[in-house]
Every structure is written in C-alpha cells, then in structure tokens.
Assembly symmetry: C2
Homo-oligomer: 226 residues x 2
DNA sequence: ACCTGAACACCGTTCAAGT
DNA sequence: ACCTGAACACCGTTCAAGT
C-alpha cells in the first residue's frame, strides 16, 4: 500500500468521493467536482470506475465495511450490528440514501449475513430464518432512508431540534377528528431520541422473533418442510 | 369537476405525471416529456407546481390516498394498512422510491396516523405508542424502498423470477466460511413470496408490540411519565 | 496503459415576451 | 392570469487525440 501516491487509482477516487459526499452531501458528488479535486480530466475517472452508480456503491461499501457482530448474546449481537449501521449513517448521512436504493447489494448482503447468523443463534427454526432476518434488515434500511431524508431536508441552516420542534407543533395543531394519534404523540416526537427510537424498533422485532419461534410454528405453516 | 378540460391545471399535470411514471419509470418523468404530452411549454408547468419535488410528492400522495384501516381487530387493521401500501407500490413501483425519500411527509404522516390508531387499540401504553407505530412505519418504508430498487434493477427485459433465481444461485455459491447464513437460506430466497415475506415482518413486529406491552413496562422505562 | 478535455445529449429552472 | 419557448447553468458519459 501507499504506492502510486500521485497517479489516479480506484482507491484514491473512492476516497475523494467520500470526502466530497461528507462535505457537500449527495448532490456534491459530481464528476466535474471530483476530477477538479483530483486534478485530472472528467473522463479519466471512467478508466477506473464504470459509472457513478458503481462509484456510489463502492463508497457505501467502504463506509460500512466495519460492521461487525460482537456481543455475548445473539440479542446483543443483533443490536451491535444495528448500532454499527446507525452510527455509520449518523457520521455519513448520504449512506442512508444509498442503502435504501440498494445499489450496493454486496453491502446489504453482508449486513443480512451478520443479522442472519445471530437470528440463527437465537434458535429460530430453519424455515422461519429468511423472513426473520429480512424483517430486521428491512427495518434498518427503512430507518436509514428516513435519516437520509431528514438530513436532506435540513441543510438550510436549521438545526435538527428546530425541525423536530416545528413538526411537533404541527402535529399538535392537526384536526383532532382526523389525526387523534399524531396529536397524542406530538410531545413524544419532540422529546424522542433517534437512537433510542431506532433500538426500540429492533427490540420489538427481536421480541417478535423469539416469541413466534418459541410458539413452535408460525401462522404461515406448511411452507417450510413440504 | 370535469371543467377546464383543455386548459392546464395542477390536477391534469399530476395525472399526466403519474401516467409517465407508470409507463416509463422514475427516469421517465421529465418536464420536457411532461410538457410535450400536455402540449404546452416546459415552463408553463411551473405556474401550477413549484418544482419537481412538489410534483412527485403530489403524485405519491394521490396514489396513496386510498390507504384505509378496515379490519375487525387491530391486528387485522394494521395488516390492512400495510397491504394497501404494498399493493399501491406493486401497482406503481415508483411510489416506493418516493416514500423512502420522504419528500411527501403528508403521505407518511397519514400512514403513521392509521397505524398509530390501531396500535393504540391494541392496548399499548401511552409512553410506548410513538416507538411502536414508528417501528411499523419504518419497516414498511424499508420494504417500499427495496421494492423500488428491485424494480429499478430490472427493466432490461429480465423477469423478476430470473433475477431472484440468479441471486439465489449466487448466494448458494458463496464462501461457506464467510456466508453460512446466505448459503443456508438461498433456497428460501428462491421460493419466497414477496407479499408473504412482507406480512411476516408485520406480524413479527405486531407480536413484539403485544408481548412488550403486556409485560407492563418496556426495558426503557422511566421515560414516559416523569 | 492511462490520461486529457472538448463535445454530446441530456437535465431542472428561469424569465422576457406574448395573449 | 396564464402560457410560450429560448436560454442558463448545470449534469453523466463518450471518445478522438495525446503521452
């Protein structure tokens, strides 16, 4: 490593793309901006990277490479995987948008693998494994997408708590006949913590997985053993 | 209604945008294509619609206006909401991508309201309502995003089952040391039904919500009553 | 083998000018 | 009040030409 410091390389391109995404957001990554920062021509990048989608996938893949599954129990390990993904998105909000678009199947497959191994360790019967693990993955991807959308909706000077505060007031002022629920939880929206909310959802799914698999068979039986 | 058949109107613009999205996908909606179909100038649309984001939000909102919450039990009603969203995405794949981007907060708020009312009916304690309902919403949005991504990855002539079959074979051929889980469930991936998988996830979350709220307090107590 | 940079075929959006 | 359509300021991608 550390060879070829001056010449262009896929590694250096992806690295610079991440810098651009971190500092200027999704819309900041441009082949022109990228080539300017790399002091090269716009077309040169295409020698090392097929197109923008591949570049984004590589950037996402790199940023999530460190997702592990440490924990003394399967439950803890599942939470650890989820937290790793959450923290990565927190540090690089653009990851959320990419994950939700699935352009990087390799990345989601790796996360699914980590989750699935722990779901297996939970004692879930073989025929229920796929649905259980993918429920966790889809939930994580949903939160990822929302976080990215929230980050995108901000930018213009406002802080997160200002946005949440305004949204909470909006909910509190809705028509009581049509939106009783939103009104009732407006206060919880204002005071909630994103990470706690995220983990509460993970815990609900884990609880559901454990309970359903303890019950012996799922409601949709006769589908596994044939 | 049915007035102004010839003149441009927000209604007619949104309607035509949906046609374009349905027939040509997300990339098919262009102000040039739209104005050509409406036999008007590209700039005329801006008189009725602020920009493309607003147009997409209006299209998404319209396509999901029919989401209801019919069902004899809260569980059934939650499933009904989820199925309505799933079916709408199935019919108009571009909705998934929009929902995951949250450009249409009104739409997601309405879905959250429907889900939340039923979660309330489930007997969930007040301080756990927000997390429970948003877990369901985030899961639904996650699946929505994945469906949209799958639809996007297809287009080029291949059928859904061909794509799934190829992916299943890939999983089966992965390194057993690194991807034991993916290998184990490759068959389930091949044979699974998208709707059944989606509903299985909903059921897991419902089971988790019921079990956690029956237990009296959640792990994260002391946060609600103060 | 790798890089340059002009050119191509698009975008969303604006805006003077029309009716 | 509403519409026209040329123009602006961008995009991602290609490709002849260079080294």
């Amino acid at each position: 490593m550390a060879r070829n410091t001056d010449g262009l390389s896929r590694e250096r391109i992806v690295e610079t793309a991440v810098e651009l995404l971190d500092s200027a957001g999704e819309s900041g990554l441009t082949f022109r901006a990228l080539s300017a920062r790399l002091k090269t021509g716009a077309g040169a990048i295409y020698w090392h990277v097929a197109n923008k989608d591949e570049l984004l996938a590589a950037a996402t893949d790199g940023a999530l490479a460190g997702v592990t599954a440490a924990g003394r129990t399967p439950e803890e390990a599942i939470r650890a995987v989820a937290i790793d993904v959450f923290d990565a998105i927190d540090a690089h909000p653009w990851i959320g948008g990419q994950l939700a678009r699935l352009t990087s199947q390799r990345t989601t497959l790796r996360i699914l693998e980590r989750l699935g191994q722990q779901v297996q360790a939970l004692g879930v019967p073989a025929e229920a494994l796929f649905y259980a693990a993918s429920a966790l993955l889809n939930y994580i991807l949903g939160v990822a997408g929302q976080n990215a959308a929230n980050a995108r909706a901000q930018t213009w000077g406002t802080t997160r708590s200002e946005v949440i505060g305004a949204e909470s007031e909006l909910w509190a002022s809705l028509d009581p006949a049509e939106f009783p629920f939103a009104r009732a939880i407006a206060g919880q929206l204002r005071d909630h913590d994103d990470r706690e909310q995220f983990l509460a959802g993970i815990d609900l799914i884990i609880a559901g997985i454990k309970q359903t698999s303890e019950a012996g068979t799922t409601q949709t039986s006769e589908s596994g053993i044939k």
